[in-house]
C-alpha cells in the first residue's frame, strides 16, 4: 500500500532503476540506531504509616492494570537520525547540499540545469532527482553534463533521508562540490522531512500566483532561500511582483530571495555567486 497518502497503490522506491533496499550506500547503516525509552524509577519517601484497610466483600472484573510510559520521541526520529548522518557525511566531503522544493511545474529541473551549466569551472555539481515515475528529469539533467541519480518514489509524495543516502552512494561525492537534491514536486509533505541538506531552496514561479507563500506557510517558512522563478513571464501573466515579495517575506522573513528565470538565465548570476560563496564558507 502507498505508505504516504493511503491510496492503496502498490509502489516501490527505486534508485537508478533498482529497488531502494538493494542499493547499498556508505551513508546507510553507518552508525547504530539509538532509540530507547525510559521508565523513570519514581519513588517518594513516605515517613508515616496509614491505617487504611478496606474489606472487599464482592467480586468484580478488574481492568488490566496499565502503566503510563512517557516516550516523548519525535515520530520522524528515524528520518532525522539518517538526515544528521547524511549531513555529517556531506560536510566531511566538503559538499554544499541543496534541497530544492516547489509545486510541480515551477521549473525546478530547468533551473537546476541552467545553474549547473553556469557554475561550470567554479563548482562541480551532481544531482539527485526525485519523481514518482520516469527518469525524464534525470535525462534532462544529464544533458547539462553532470552526474545524476534518479529516485522514483512510486507513490511516495516526498523524498526521505534514507532514499537520499542510498542515492548519494551512487555518486562519486569526492569529485563534487555541490549536491543538488531535486525533491518531488509538492509543497506540503517535503517540508516535514529533513534530508541532511545545508540549504532548503523553495521555488515560486510567477505563473503560480502571488499568494502561494501564504497558502503553504510551513514549506516557505522552512526554506533558507526563495527563488522567484520564470521572471521572464512576469509581464505576460500580469504578475504582481511587490505583492509576491511581500507574501514571501511574510511567510519566510529570513529567506534570501533571488528573482530569476531558469529559461533565460536572468538573475542567475547572483544566485550562482551566492552558491559559490556558501560553498566557500561551508568548507572553511
Amino acid at each position: 500500500m502507498c505508505k504516504e497518502c493511503g491510496c492503496g497503490i502498490v509502489g516501490e522506491v527505486n534508485i537508478a532503476g533498482k529497488p531502494s533496499r538493494q542499493v547499498p550506500s556508505p551513508l546507510v547503516n553507518g552508525g547504530s540506531s539509538h532509540a530507547h525509552s525510559h521508565v523513570e524509577p519514581h519513588d517518594h519517601p513516605h515517613p508515616h504509616s496509614h491505617d487504611h484497610d478496606h474489606g472487599h466483600p464482592h467480586e468484580h472484573p478488574h481492568a488490566p492494570a496499565t502503566q503510563t510510559l512517557e516516550v516523548h520521541q519525535a515520530i520522524l526520529a528515524k528520518n532525522d537520525r539518517q538526515a544528521e548522518r547524511n549531513r555529517g557525511f556531506f560536510k566531511a566531503k566538503g559538499l554544499l547540499v541543496l534541497n530544492v522544493v516547489s509545486s510541480p511545474g515551477s521549473g525546478k529541473t530547468t533551473l537546476i540545469q541552467k545553474t549547473i551549466s553556469m557554475l561550470a569551472g567554479r563548482l562541480r555539481a551532481g544531482v539527485i532527482v526525485g519523481d514518482l515515475a520516469t527518469d525524464n528529469d534525470a535525462a534532462r539533467l544529464r544533458s547539462a553534463g553532470c552526474p545524476v541519480v534518479q529516485i522514483t518514489t512510486g507513490t511516495v509524495c516526498h523524498l526521505e533521508a534514507d532514499m537520499v543516502a542510498r542515492a548519494a552512494g551512487q555518486l562519486d561525492l569526492g569529485a563534487l562540490d555541490l549536491l543538488v537534491i531535486e525533491n518531488v514536486g509538492n509543497l506540503v509533505c517535503p517540508a516535514t522531512y529533513d534530508l541532511g541538506e545545508d540549504l532548503r531552496v523553495v521555488l515560486l514561479a510567477v505563473t503560480e500566483g502571488e499568494d502561494k507563500p501564504l497558502k503553504y506557510p510551513p514549506m516557505f517558512h522552512s526554506a533558507e532561500v526563495a527563488l522567484l522563478n520564470k521572471m521572464d513571464l512576469a509581464a505576460a501573466t500580469e504578475f504582481d511582483r511587490a505583492t509576491a515579495l511581500e507574501n514571501l517575506r511574510r511567510a519566510s522573513p529570513h529567506a534570501t530571495i533571488f528573482e530569476v528565470s531558469g529559461r533565460t538565465g536572468q538573475g542567475l548570476g547572483a544566485w550562482c555567486d551566492f552558491l559559490v560563496e556558501k560553498h566557500r564558507t561551508q568548507k572553511a
Partner: protein, 113 residues
C-alpha cells in the same frame, strides 16, 4: 498528505518503547501534533484504524493533542498565537518572529501493560 506514513512510524516507535519496557499491549497511544506540521488529525485517526491491526496497539485508543502554533515577538517581548497560519506579530506587525511551537510531531506517552 502523508498521514499513513506518519502513523506507521508512530506505531513503530510506540511498539519499540513498549517492548523495551517489557509490555505486551498498548492501550492508549498519545501523540502531540503541531499546527504547522501539515498533518491532519482526522486523517491520522483514519490511518490509525488501518495501520494498528496486527500490532501491539491493535485495540488501542489514539489520543491526539493538537499543539497550536505560537511565536515569540522580540519587539513586544511576548508570545503570541497567530490568528491564522501566518508568521507576523498581530500587535506590532514584526515579521522576524521566533517559532516556539507548532512543529511538534511526537509520541508523547503510552498506556501499556
Amino acid at each position: 498528505m502523508h498521514e499513513v506514513g506518519i502513523i506507521q512510524s508512530a506505531v513503530e516507535a510506540a511498539q519499540d518503547s513498549a517492548k523495551a519496557s517489557g509490555a505486551t499491549e498498548i492501550h492508549v497511544l498519545r501523540l502531540r501534533v503541531g499546527a504547522l506540521t501539515g498533518v491532519v488529525p482526522d486523517a491520522l485517526e483514519f490511518a490509525f484504524e488501518v495501520v494498528r491491526s496486527g500490532t501491539m496497539a491493535a485495540s488501542a485508543t489514539l489520543e491526539i493533542e493538537n499543539v497550536p502554533a505560537s511565536f515569540w515577538c522580540g519587539g513586544c517581548q511576548a508570545e503570541f498565537l497567530p490568528p491564522e497560519l501566518s508568521y507576523v506579530c498581530p500587535k506590532c506587525g514584526r515579521q522576524d518572529v521566533e517559532l516556539r511551537h507548532g512543529l511538534e510531531l511526537e509520541v508523547a506517552s503510552l498506556e501499556i501493560s
